[in-house]
């Protein structure tokens, strides 16, 4: 303990003498140091001065690095252009939702007013938790020049899991939950949840879902459908609605259980493990939160060439993902410039290419300059993808993230253990996890 503390103090003292803006010894917090403008302040300044502040700086971006197609887009297309046009050096760092939340909470607990990350790639539950804990800087997103092009009319882009971003995050892309099947094994995949239930009973042991975020999204979508559809789940969390809808979900799962893979006693750890089962003919369906992922996975040889993606006619959960700036970002100006570039038609078009990432655009077609609108329309489509108009027709916005939170813990406590007791008998979900904000900061 002494050695670690001594090391810590030595290192801290070194940094303090080297850089006055990084003084955080002994957890003493200070006010925002001069020269370190907050995102909110920058949002009120003219854009040119923001760009000028950002020039020559480094932007550290916490984002998920688990998909090589995304990494390729960020490292090979985005980063060089940022360097060339704005003199910004992009520093991508691998971190996903819960890890980002943990990191920022720990930083605030440690009293770090000058943090280590400038930009975050988040959405849904992560955004909700970060916002509630006051860990995000802003508002700033609406001050970006490219924000005028965003499709604010779409409920999927304008709200993040039903919550208003309120300028604390800027949209980046959109995805839709899709099922993946093998056209040689399943020439006629079921198109509704009911048909899926029938299919499961007709093909015992050939369907399952994963324990990760994708499986949770599947369960959430199923619960929303059983609870009356997405229109019933807009607005803030409603515990009575959750109790009623989840009861139907547990019922559906209990009836399907004996005919699931391994009789519902075991579930793959994450979506990669589910895709492995699908590709190797242990089950006949995989799922993906990115409806176009099937193209890149077939290209990589992770999925068989006859794989196809589709969405259920009962509605497919769609959501947008965003970028946000943490409360203690050292380079908010650089982060804002990057966010603006991400929204540019050029960047959105490149991102949407099916032979690359294939992520949906968040821009409104009618607000684009005609030249760009034409280019978007001419984007090639792969036969394995879900057609874009089909996607739009069945897209449903996500509900409040509290539904997913409770669904995750209730599923773990009740469905996974195979008990027959009714989880909704566990009391009012609202009182079970009431929690005021956890601020322990300055």
């Amino acid at each position: 303990m002494l050695a670690a503390a001594a090391c810590g103090h030595r290192a801290a003292a070194r940094d303090a003498t080297r850089d006055a803006t990084r003084d955080a010894t002994r957890g003493v917090t200070r006010g925002v140091t001069p020269g370190l403008a907050s995102a909110a302040a920058l949002a009120r300044m003219p854009w040119d001065s923001v760009v000028a502040r950002a020039r020559g700086s480094t932007v550290r971006w916490l984002l998920w690095r688990g998909d090589p197609a995304i990494n390729h887009y960020v490292d090979e297309w985005l980063a060089p252009r940022l360097a060339m046009r704005y003199g910004i050096t992009l520093d991508p760092v691998d971190a996903q939702g819960p890890a980002i939340l943990n990191a920022l909470v720990v930083e605030r607990e440690a009293g770090r007013t000058v943090g280590t990350a400038d930009l975050l790639w988040i959405n849904g539950e992560t955004f909700h938790n970060l916002r509630r804990e006051g860990l995000l800087a802003g508002p700033w997103a609406r001050s970006l020049p490219a924000a005028a092009l965003v499709d604010t009319a779409s409920p999927i882009v304008a709200r993040d899991f039903g919550e208003d971003p309120a300028g604390y995050e800027s949209p980046w892309g959109r995805v839709e939950l899709a099922l993946i099947y093998d056209s040689t094994r399943t020439p006629e995949p079921p198109r509704t949840y009911e048909a899926l239930a029938d299919w499961v009973h007709a093909h015992p042991g050939r369907f399952t879902y994963d324990q990760g975020f994708t499986g949770l999204a599947f369960l959430t979508g199923l619960m929303i459908h059983l609870g009356g559809g997405a229109s019933r789940f807009t607005g803030p969390f409603d515990s009575a609605r959750y109790v009623a809808a989840s009861a139907r979900l547990w019922d559906w799962l209990a009836r399907a259980r004996p005919d699931l893979w391994r009789h519902g006693a075991a579930y793959p750890q994450g979506v990669a493990q589910l895709e492995h089962l699908f590709a190797n003919r242990e089950v006949d369906f995989a799922m993906s939160y990115n409806e176009n992922e099937v193209v890149s996975k077939v290209r990589d040889g992770a999925l068989p060439a006859t794989s196809r993606a589709y969405v259920l006619r009962d509605g497919a959960l769609a959501n947008a993902h965003f970028v946000a700036i943490p409360f203690n970002a050292p380079n908010a100006a650089g982060a804002m410039v990057v966010a603006n570039v991400l929204l540019s038609p050029e960047a959105q078009l490149e991102k949407a290419r099916p032979d690359g990432w294939g992520d949906g655009s968040v821009l409104a077609v009618d607000r684009l300059p005609p030249e760009w609108a034409r280019r978007f329309a001419r984007l090639p489509a792969d036969a394995r993808q879900v057609p874009r108009d089909t996607l739009a027709r069945y897209a449903e916005p996500e509900a409040s993230p509290r539904y997913s939170e409770l669904l995750q813990s209730d599923w773990r406590t009740h469905v996974r253990t195979g008990t027959t007791e009714d989880p909704s008998a566990g009391g009012d979900p609202e009182s079970r996890t009431t929690r005021p904000a956890l601020r322990s900061g300055p």
Binding site: M1, L2, A3, A4, P98, L101, N102, V105, V106, E109, E125, N129, G205, Q211, R262, A265, A266, Y267, P268, Q269, Q273, H276, L277, N280, R281, E282, P401, S404, E405, L406, Q408, S409, R412, T413, R416, T417, G418, T433, R435, L438, S440
Partner: protein
């Protein structure tokens, strides 16, 4: 460094320094378990401890973890003893066996686990061989060895993974201590079988015991292997701990720290047992 004859103070202090980071971690986990520290701290509260203690799945998972780790350790020990005793000589077969036993040593847990899925899974290499031979017709015909309640794939994989280390220790023990005692027994007229039973194996066991304790605690504490190979219910202890850290519901973080604390305490117990067996082995030498 002065050569003090009774230098117990500096020695003990230095050992304390080495253990200090773990003690710090223990303290922080303990504080977080009762709500005084950690990302979701809300003030002194026993709700996390209460929730974990009352959760039957945690205890079932812990029981499964102990069962699987014990079985894997026992298998690995048996294999290591067999190799150390059966291949003691200097012939080409003996040397080949000893090298081959040691080669898998640097394979990390995550690679071993991922590989096990590819080999032992219902659509894995063994299953494909069976399908090619016509014994089965589709993956479901092959017995489930991964994600199964008995944990067969988990046990086999981790037993295999730990054979190199235990073989290394076993061969060392025999090489350094076995000779004299065995020769003495033989010159006093004991038969090879009796020597084996009364001298070699007990000696080996004494010297191997500390390593066996360590292997047990290593297998019990691994995450990736348990996540990829272990059953979904009962959920292995390391997976249960990690899940609570990553849960969307922030209030479950404290539960994660309770489990961490429990893991650290079990680690302490294991170290105590380790030291006890090591002391016994040391007494044998003097």
């Amino acid at each position: 460094m002065t050569a003090r004859a009774s230098g117990s103070a500096p020695g003990a202090a230095l050992a304390g320094l080495v253990a200090a980071p773990v003690v710090v971690g223990l303290g922080y986990s303990a504080a977080a378990a009762i709500g005084l520290a950690g990302p979701a701290a809300r003030g002194l509260s026993l709700v996390h401890i209460d929730r974990v203690m009352r959760d039957a799945t945690v205890w079932r998972g812990l029981a499964w973890t102990i069962y699987a780790a014990a079985l894997a350790t026992a298998l690995a020990t048996a294999a290591a003893v067999a190799v150390a005793i059966g291949f003691r000589g200097t012939g080409i077969g003996d040397r080949l066996a000893r090298i081959a036993a040691l080669v898998p040593f640097p394979i990390p847990y995550v690679v071993a686990a991922a590989g096990a899925v590819l080999v032992l899974g219902q659509s894995g290499l063994l299953a494909r061989l069976a399908a090619a031979a016509g014994v089965i017709h589709d993956p479901s015909g092959f017995p489930p060895l991964v994600l199964d309640r008995p944990g067969l794939g988990f046990i086999l994989t981790f037993a295999w993974k730990e054979v190199p280390f235990l073989t290394f220790v076993a061969v060392s023990v025999l090489a350094t201590r076995g000779q004299q005692l065995e020769e003495t027994a033989r010159t006093l007229g004991a038969s090879p079988a009796a020597t084996l039973r009364r001298v070699t194996v007990p000696l080996l066991w004494r010297g191997l015991a500390p390593a066996v304790v360590l292997v047990f605690i290593f297998i019990a504490g691994t995450y990736e292997g348990a996540a990829l190979l272990g059953p979904t219910d009962p959920l292995p202890f390391a997976v249960a701990t990690y899940e609570r850290y990553q849960a969307l519901d922030l209030t479950l973080r404290g539960d994660g720290f309770v489990l961490t604390l429990l893991g650290l305490i079990l680690g302490l117990a294991a170290v105590a047992v380790f030291e006890w067996t090591r002391a016994r082995a040391e007494r044998l030498r003097s």
